[in-house]
């Protein structure tokens, strides 16, 4: 960072994202906006049953529809695209069944694709799909995780022996002893509902297979293009270098667009089979039954506390239902794994025991969605902390302070083995209390209670796992890159083109990378053009997930920038016949390091290096395109932390919860662009609020989704959302030169817990509390005994 601090630095500046101009003019190019010559469209026949044998498929009538090019079943696709199993080797004992692009033999959830109809337009393809006759033989379905492992419950995949995908027991210290020594033991059961990402742009993929060269080009609304390239190459049996994945503008992702979906694999297989471009864009109704779902936990928690509020120990039992398959290649075990590993991590007590069971069921597959496991972990932990404070008559702020992992304890290893280089729980809490004027809000709440107005304040402290190294997926056998590359090219005009392995879905990745590069090289940020998301040209990388863009992509950009800066100075020294050490680059000009006098413009340097190298010494070769890579290896993750506060008012007559205001103070290390971090926080907080209050995928006992439209599934809209104030504390990581950590998920990690605690604070004087999400008016009224 020395260089950045010396020269013109954009680190810490709220640079406006240049690509917003395109999006604001309606000139974004999302996957469905791409059209290719001879392009076909696919519509899928999806299972109407949660669990049913496919006795027959009659596609004659569909084939007869004018404009239908092909009808393909699962069996017909097996020779083109091999199946997959979503397990990771480091999740010991994990199992899942082979999943295929189109179901073969039986369907295991309502919405599973069983046949594909390809036609000249999507409308004609849908006409065809409605004429495919499937002979269904319904089977009993498994929906309730609580009974999924009972002997009387049918086993979804008989070859697996039971419905258990994964189980895990963790223990640290002596939880038994902690509970024996406790003054008070608190027990609670939390039910967290299923929800999903509802990206406004639905999943979309356009596959273009050229049979003459056997090359596949795929336009994909996706977060991890190299992962997709690898998987397409292996499962379609194509050479990896002949598969190109291009992610143009992506209309929201949040972890929805980082998994392998059968319908997307089928679309690519269809293009290979037909030798023509094939496009699939999910409509909203099929998004609800085919996008991965998230959460669905039943968590039993027990907390052992002393009368003074000291937490002695905790026990957690998590049961989570993941649908019929563990999702490939990241698996559906990470959510539960992180839930029980993260839950106690804010606090210093050592005695902890946790168990996890991940079970199969006949619902849409569940997998990683923004803040994987965190929202459940911290809603549970923080609700227990608040309950302890309430039962013991203590201040919730003081109970947290008393139990935090504090400044002098770092570096610190958590109860479950997570390594924390340095976190700032006390600082973020202090700042939050000041920002929100917390004590005044408490006084106001207390005064209003006397007038029958029920307001509540809810805190939620959290940690966030960011910037994962290879131990996350790579060691488990998943071919998902934990390293990322950056390539910078000096154009002859003296401007920079930069390509990065991390990707852009609206976070401002390209702006953040441009700021780092401009600062490291010494040019104006407008003079850096960043390209992301094309496997043919971008350096190999993991893409954007697990809040890794800044921590990994940012550091790779910094190292690449420093290297090309050195190379540029060598060229300048050769031209100016001096030593590189005597020169500097400032805002696109080569200057004398000591005096700042301008010696050479970068455009002139580019002209000489590219067009007149004959004027340079014979043994001098300029290197003005540079690639460097970065992978975090000194710690498993760069953990961040923060705290949120929710202020709500509960209408005890109707059960409605009104959000008055929300605060968050976060610490994501050195901040590259404060506005972008603020906006990541706000967007993520609202996704957490959605989970806390509105969003719910409700199934009936037969496994039929009852909330499969945007009329039934409520998402947060502008009118209900509060103002959100964001504050920052900066604790840079010392393991990477830039000091950057991740910021994408922290908002979602803490918001549900804050809202839950705020509602319970409002209900407390009435002797009621809720322990389920979403907190619907009905739930509140039931808690109040009014229903």
């Amino acid at each position: 960072m020395s260089r950045i601090e010396k020269g013109r630095s954009y680190i810490g500046e709220s640079v406006v994202r240049p690509q917003t101009a395109r999006l604001l003019a309606g000139r974004g190019v999302f996957t469905d906006d791409v059209a290719l010559p001879r392009m076909l469209h696919v519509a899928f026949v999806r299972s109407p049953h949660a669990h049913a044998r496919i006795a027959s498929i009659d596609s004659a009538e569909a084939r007869a529809v004018a404009g239908v090019a092909a009808v393909v079943t699962g069996e017909e696709m097996t020779s083109v695209c091999s199946g997959w199993v979503g397990t990771l080797a480091h999740f010991q004992g994990m199992k899942s069944a082979t999943q295929r692009p189109l179901a073969v033999g039986k369907a295991s959830w309502q919405g599973e694709p069983v046949a594909a109809v390809v036609a000249e337009s999507r409308a004609i393809a849908e006409d065809g799909a409605s004429r495919v006759r499937v002979g269904w033989e319904p089977l009993p379905s498994v929906t309730d995780p609580e009974t999924a492992l009972d002997a009387s419950t049918p086993v979804i995949h008989p070859e697996l022996g039971d419905n258990l995908a994964f189980k895990l027991e963790l223990s640290s210290g002596d939880a038994e002893a902690a509970f024996k020594n406790a003054d008070v033991v608190l027990t609670e059961t939390f039910t967290m509902g299923r929800h999903t990402g509802v990206t406004l742009e639905a999943r979309a993929i356009l596959a273009d297979f050229d049979p003459s060269e056997r090359r596949l080009t795929v336009y994909h609304s996706f977060q991890a293009p190299n992962m997709m390239q690898d998987i397409l190459a292996r499962h379609l049996n194509l050479p990896e270098q002949d598969v190109r994945v291009i992610c143009k503008d992506v209309g929201g992702s949040f972890g929805i667009k980082v998994h392998i979906y059968p319908d997307e694999m089928a679309t690519c297989a269809l293009s290979v089979m037909l030798g023509r471009p094939v496009k699939f864009t999910a409509d909203r109704l099929e998004s609800f039954v085919s996008d991965i779902h998230a959460r669905e936990h039943r968590v039993k928690a027990e907390l052992a506390v002393k009368r003074d509020g000291t937490i002695l120990g905790m026990r957690v039992d998590d049961l989570t239902g993941i649908g019929p398959y563990s999702v490939y290649p990241r698996t559906s075990a990470v959510e539960g794994n992180q839930t029980i590993r993260l839950a106690p991590g804010v606090y210093r007590f050592r005695d902890y025991a946790a168990s996890l069971r991940v079970v199969f069921q006949n619902k849409t597959p569940m997998c990683q969605y923004r803040a994987v496991g965190h929202p459940i972990a911290f809603a549970v932990m923080e609700a227990m902390v608040d309950r302890a404070a309430r039962e013991l008559g203590l201040d919730p702020v003081e109970v947290r302070r008393k139990n935090y992992v504090t400044a002098e304890m770092y570096p610190h290893t958590s109860q479950t083995g997570y390594f924390f280089e340095r976190l700032s729980h006390e600082e973020v809490l202090h700042k939050l209390l000041e920002m929100s004027d917390y004590r005044a809000l408490c006084a106001e709440r207390d005064a209003l209670r006397k007038r029958g107005v029920h307001r509540g304040l809810g805190l939620c402290a959290f940690i966030e796992l960011t910037t994962p190294g290879p131990a996350f997926y790579g060691v488990g056998g998943a071919r998902i890159s934990s390293q990322d590359g950056c390539t910078i090219k000096l154009e002859p005009s003296g401007k920079l083109t930069c390509m990065t392995g991390v990707t852009e879905q609206g976070q401002g990745t390209d702006t953040m990378i441009a700021q780092v590069v401009a600062s490291a090289v010494g040019v104006a940020v407008e003079d850096v053009r960043v390209l992301t998301g094309d496997t043919m040209v971008s350096p190999y990388g993991g893409g954007t997930w697990a809040s890794r863009g800044a921590g990994i992509g940012g550091e790779a950009a910094l190292q690449t920038g420093k290297t090309i800066r050195g190379n540029i100075l060598k060229v300048a020294a050769a031209i100016l016949q001096c030593e590189p050490e005597d020169l500097d680059i400032r805002l696109g000009k080569i200057v004398d390091l000591m005096t700042g006098e301008v010696r050479l413009d970068l455009a002139e340097l580019g002209r000489v290096a590219y067009f007149r190298p004959d004027t340079l010494p014979k043994d001098f070769q300029s290197e003005l395109t540079v690639t460097r890579h970065y992978v975090p290896r000194h710690q498993g993750f760069a953990f961040t932390n923060g705290i949120q506060l929710s202020h709500v008012e509960v209408d005890v007559a109707t059960g409605f919860v009104r959000l008055l205001k929300h605060w968050c103070v976060e610490d994501c290390g050195r901040i590259i662009n404060p506005r972008l971090v603020d906006e990541q926080m706000r967007g993520a907080i609202v996704q957490g609020i959605g989970a806390a209050l509105y969003e719910h995928l409700v199934y009936d006992q037969q496994g039929q989704l009852l909330t499969g439209t945007m009329m039934d599934y409520l998402v947060p809209m502008a009118a209900e959302m509060p103002e959100i104030m964001v504050g920052h504390v900066e604790t840079p990581t010392a393991y990477a030169e830039g000091g950057f950590k991740g910021a994408g998920e922290a908002g979602t990690a803490g918001a549900p817990g804050a809202v839950l605690n705020a509602v319970n604070d409002a209900l407390a004087p009435l002797g009621a509390r809720v322990t389920s999400q979403p907190i619907t008016p009905e739930l509140v009224l039931r808690a109040l005994g009014a229903l």
Partner: protein, 157 residues
């Protein structure tokens, strides 16, 4: 069916299927891909366009119903400079992330400011509550519309 209409000031005549929605017509037949399809059941607002000056959900109106109408899309209002200040404010406030909802947001905000130039933050939230944004949490969008409203009011004074 044959339809004739004006789209962003240009006279257009096309044969369309009676079942085709207006937004699909704009996107696929006219290649005006700035209007987006988010839910196709009138909830999300991504397909918002103006028909004869009024906001319309492009997924709930058929192309044939627009016969003889004046249709304006994001490409139109961006091209004429009508929403230039709003676009600037959105960029400044980072009131868009993925940008998929943005065309609908801009048209809806423009419509509100035409009707209620001095709209308060609360009125802005109310007016935008038919447009779903998954990325921003709305805070920055409300700020961008509010600052534009203020600047326009000042410019008129």
């Amino acid at each position: 069916m044959q339809i004739s209409l004006t789209v962003n000031g240009v006279a257009v005549s096309r044969r369309v299927e009676p079942r085709q929605s207006l937004v699909d017509f704009l996107r696929y037949d006219l290649e005006l891909t700035g209007s987006h399809v988010g839910c196709e059941h009138g909830v999300c607002g991504a397909c918002t366009v103006r028909v004869d000056g009024a906001l319309v959900r492009g997924c709930l109106m058929l192309a044939v119903q627009a016969d003889g109408c004046r249709v304006e899309t994001i490409e139109g209002v961006a091209g004429t400079g009508e929403v230039f200040d709003l676009q600037q404010a959105f960029a400044q406030e980072n009131a868009l992330q993925c940008g998929f909802c943005t065309p609908g947001m801009l048209l809806t905000a423009q419509d509100l400011l035409a009707r209620k130039p001095g709209a308060s933050a609360l009125e802005i939230r109310e007016a935008l509550s038919g447009n779903y944004c998954r990325c921003t949490g709305y805070h920055a969008i409300v700020e961008a519309v509010r600052t534009t409203a203020e600047a326009r009011t000042k410019a008129r004074a």
